[in-house]
């Protein structure tokens, strides 16, 4: 009963707040008419960026600007991390970081993944945390929001998709900074540390010396959750008592994980002028989210097999859980964080029962329910393109989406984006599961070891960033492979949909007739659900069978 109440509380509040927040996002990203301070803000953007550079652009120019901006951001982050010992704000004297880890970390944060092969409190100075990583948590999330705004403009009928730099500035200064400031304030009220002083040296009751790491944690946690970044200030992420001190901060964090991805759906619907279509998409995403949560919570209610022979009371799987917040938080957080490309953790995912772990994997494989800030809705657009095309062909309706006819080119591009995601995960797993690159880094063998490799590559390709752990992943092979995958898997699913929209924008709009395939009713919702299930199952079921499913079956009497 308490478990259900917690789920209803988090999802209910997030869904309710996402509606007005969606309206705010439209105001921020696509202001209808500006006056007063907003007009001065827009004028300031143009004067800072330059009138010529800030002009509205085609899809290709938009994508090129995004890549150029991200490449420069990557180089800055790389430089800050490489030069750490020589830079200020290093009260605890953190040393140099290994070259491959610098590459991996810069790629991880510029791609909004935040997959961490280091522990922040051990390896990074405050300067590296703030100026090497935290600003990327803002601009990488802003990049996702900007890309969605551009795609929505194109689908609304505009050939010019807007300007990337203007959009990133709007998303950063009007959305992420103010909302993160409010959340950081609430987290400080919940006892999350916010200081630039060094670690505390304390003497325990036994007389031992203890070093307690701290820092500007509240600011870091706020944007890590809101921007679906997920990178923790401390190595254990939100299982660390100073990163997530109370039940209050725990609930705030879970709300923040899903808030902006949900609001992005409403923003998209308003920008394309089809809020009913957005409502259907929202309902489909919500359905998948609830199903995954129910699945994970149900399978976590069984005791872990590791404790089965011990002379203790057999209750729900409590291994690896933060029990201060109740046993439901672990699987609930695991599903929220993997469904939204967030990647922060509130429990040890390696300790989840096999099928609860599968629910987390499914979130990253689909990556669209609700997905990351901006990119979750973009990923869902790929499923929508395929659903409209296939269903239209099956029933003899014209495959049209938002008054534009879908052709072979658009469907090919959508499939390419999906195949790339699957190839990174399945191809990478195939390589690491049979070579010393992966086998030498495992702490478990058999199906669970396979699941650890599968999870790491799924996390990288979905730009999620959570770790199954149990894997010694700070090696050159893992750093290079997942670093490259994170960069390619971040931008391919943005570039390809931008190309789809560019292609659709060139076509003549078609009139809505009785032969048009509707996208605003329950039938479309069901077709979209079926498409997601079929595409997802066909792609990933064999890998799931080799990992979590066979592990579950091994434990059956």
């Amino acid at each position: 009963m308490t478990a259900a109440l917690l789920v209803v509380l988090i999802l209910g509040v997030a869904a309710a707040v996402s509606w007005p927040l969606g309206r705010y996002l439209v105001w921020a990203m696509e202001p209808p008419e500006v006056s007063g301070w907003r007009a001065r803000f827009e004028a300031l953007l143009v004067s800072v960026i330059g009138a010529r550079i800030s002009a509205s652009r085609s899809w290709k120019s938009y994508a090129t600007a995004m890549l150029a901006f991200s490449a420069v951001a990557f180089a800055i982050s790389f430089a800050v991390l490489s030069l750490q010992p020589s830079l200020p704000l290093n009260p605890d004297g953190k040393g140099a970081i290994a070259e491959s880890l610098v590459f991996h970390t810069a790629a991880s944060f510029v791609s909004n993944t935040n997959l961490q092969h280091y522990s922040g409190e051990v390896s990074l100075s405050y300067f590296s945390q703030l100026f090497g990583l935290m600003w990327l948590q803002f601009v990488s999330a802003a990049t996702g929001l900007a890309a969605l705004a551009a795609i929505a403009r194109g689908l609304a009928g505009s050939r010019a998709l807007g300007n990337f730099f203007v959009d990133v500035a709007r998303a950063t200064f009007l959305v992420l900074l103010p909302v993160a400031a409010v959340l950081a304030g609430l987290l400080v009220l919940g006892s999350t540390p916010m200081t630039l002083d060094g670690a505390v040296h304390a003497t325990t009751l036994e007389g031992a010396e203890q070093v307690i790491a701290r820092g500007p944690v509240a600011a870091f946690v706020a944007i890590k959750q809101l921007g679906t970044n997920g990178g923790g200030f401390f190595g254990p992420n939100s299982t660390h008592p100073l990163e997530n001190p109370t039940f209050w901060t725990n609930c705030l964090s879970m709300l923040a994980i899903v808030l902006l991805p949900m609001a992005c759906v409403w923003m998209f619907g308003r920008m394309v002028g089809r809020w009913r279509h957005a409502a259907v998409v929202f309902a489909v995403m919500f359905l998948f989210l609830v199903a995954k949560i129910g699945f994970a919570v149900w399978f976590e209610s069984a005791p872990t097999k590791a404790f089965e022979t011990l002379p203790i009371e057999q209750v729900a799987n409590l291994e690896g859980k933060e029990l201060r917040f109740g046993s439901t938080t672990g699987p609930l957080w695991a599903v929220l964080t993997t469904s939204t490309s967030n990647g922060s953790v509130g429990a040890m995912h390696d300790s989840l029962n096999p099928l609860a772990g599968l629910a987390a994997l499914v979130g990253m494989w689909l990556n669209a329910t609700f997905g990351g800030v901006g990119v979750g809705m973009i990923n869902m657009l790929l499923y929508i393109v395929i659903a409209v095309f296939v269903a239209g062909m099956l029933v003899g309706r014209t495959p049209e989406y938002l008054n534009r006819r879908l052709g072979a080119r658009e469907v090919t591009l959508a499939v390419l984006a999906m195949v790339a995601h699957a190839a990174f995960i399945l191809g990478g797993t195939a390589v690491f599961a049979v070579t010393p690159w992966g086998l030498d880094t495992l702490n478990n063998t058999g199906a669970h070891g396979f699941a650890e490799i599968l999870y790491e590559l799924s996390s990288a390709s979905a730009n999620n960033g959570s770790g199954f752990e149990g894997l010694g992943d700070n090696t050159v092979a893992w750093n290079v492979a997942t670093g490259l995958i994170m960069l390619l898997a971040r931008f391919l699913p943005i570039i390809l949909p931008l190309a789809i929209v560019g292609s659709l924008a060139e076509k003549q709009p078609t009139a809505q007739t009785a032969g048009t395939f509707g996208t605003e009713d329950a039938t479309f919702g069901l077709i979209l659900v079926a498409t997601i299930v079929i595409v997802g199952a066909l792609t990933f079921a064999p890998a799931a069978a080799l990992g979590p499913i066979v592990e579950h079956l091994q434990f059956l009497p």
Binding site: S100, L484, F491
Partner: protein
Amino acid sequence: MTYLLYLSLGFAAFATLFVLTAALDRAGRTSQIGEDR
């Protein structure tokens, strides 16, 4: 020296994406001409 090698690796990934964007744009223009005809 090794740091520069890894920095180049990142830039190589971005270069690949730039090339892909240009290729998609070119392919799009070609298919558009085909449809117009």
